[in-house]
Amino acid sequence: MTDPETTPVADKFGNDPHVLLRVIAKFLIPLIALFAFYVQFHGDYGPGGGFQAGVILAASVILYALIFGLAEAKKAFPPRLIRYGMTLGVILYGGTGILNFILGGEFLNYSNLGKDAVAGQHYGILAVELGVLTTVTTVMIAIFYAFGSRQPETSAEDW
């Protein structure tokens, strides 16, 4: 098991020991992210929704971090943005509720968001599922960064 901070290096013949993993991961990671968005937006019509989509999107980032190294993943998905995303999702969800307040209805009663009650419900569900997606994705990635960046006491060779 390699040190998570560095990427695997070539051996003395110049062969990358993880070439199969890298090639397959390069192909799969965008597909996994696309699938996450599919699950998010089709949560109204089939099984799915914000939680499942958030976890799948976080899984694609975690796969990237596992194959290419945590430093590379932190360059692609910076921890600062992850931290902002955690709060942004909660604000999005609560903000939808407050918006209903402002428009004259009750908290989280989406009926006044569109031209009729049904359209309002659709917009409201879309907005809160987006908030759930943001929070769940960023929290899972943040927890993985926290565990992955901690220096272990026993080194990898002692395993």
């Binding site: 099984p47 659709h122 926290a146 960046s149």
Partner: protein, 227 residues
């Protein structure tokens, strides 16, 4: 209805019953294997297997949203987090002495016997007139078709009818992320603690295992600590 009468009912075909029984038996086998295992890697993998098999069982019980979430969260992210925590901790667990095993077994057998005594009052499996299925749960289906008009009733209930609970859940996830960041730090460097209980100043270096602890601070942190 009893299982034999259910077998005669054309909806409850034999494959469905066999699937139900075999998945539950597999779950019991995995759970018993988890009890006796000492290698932590095996324990983490077995709890991932348990989550995945229970996700399959959820599908056979028509709970497709729950199965999706359990497979993604329980068998996916949860296993990754346990593995990454295990890599920062130990690889093997020590065996438990018989006295402690016997005590735990007694408590668990008593609790299990009490619950088995109550099983007789539970509604029959699949009963459409049970108290759980007779009131507001089934009303949601009709209300969703009128007021929200999206096919997935579970999403409609989760996001609209029980939206307040889902808001609480999002805040719980946020708090968990916050807690992990406070404990470990987003770049792995939180937790250099110092405290003063009972007027006695303790920190990393005077913790119970200070004599054998390695000083894992960076040179900047050492300079900061000395100053």
């Amino acid at each position: 209805m009893s299982l034999f009468a259910a077998a005669a009912d054309p909806i409850f075909t034999v494959p469905v019953i066999l699937l139900d029984i075999s998945l539950l038996a597999l779950l019991v086998v995995v759970a018993f294997a988890l009890v006796r295992m000492r290698s932590l890697f095996g324990i983490v993998m077995l709890q991932g297997v348990y989550s995945l098999v229970s996700a399959a069982w959820f599908v056979s019980l028509d709970a497709v949203d729950v199965a999706f979430t359990e497979a993604a969260v329980g068998a996916g992210v949860s296993t990754v987090l346990m593995l990454s925590a295990m890599l920062l901790a130990d690889r093997k667990s020590t065996p438990v002495p018989m006295r402690r095993q016997f005590g735990a077994l007694m408590v668990v057998v008593l609790a299990g016997a009490a619950m088995l005594y109550a099983v007789g009052d539970m509604p029959a499996f699949g009963d459409v007139n049970s108290p759980a299925n007779a009131y507001v749960g089934m009303d949601f289906i009709g209300k969703t078709a009128e007021e929200i008009q999206i096919p997935n009733v579970v999403t409609a209930v989760l996001a609209s009818y029980r939206g307040y609970d889902t808001f609480g859940e999002v805040v719980v996830i946020f708090s968990a992320g916050l807690g992990v960041l406070l404990l470990l730090g987003l770049n792995g460097n939180a937790g250099r603690w110092e405290a003063k209980p009972n007027g006695q100043y303790i920190n990393d270096r005077s913790a119970p295992s200070a004599a054998t602890a390695k000083d894992t601070r960076t040179s900047d942190q050492k300079a900061e600590g000395e100053a």
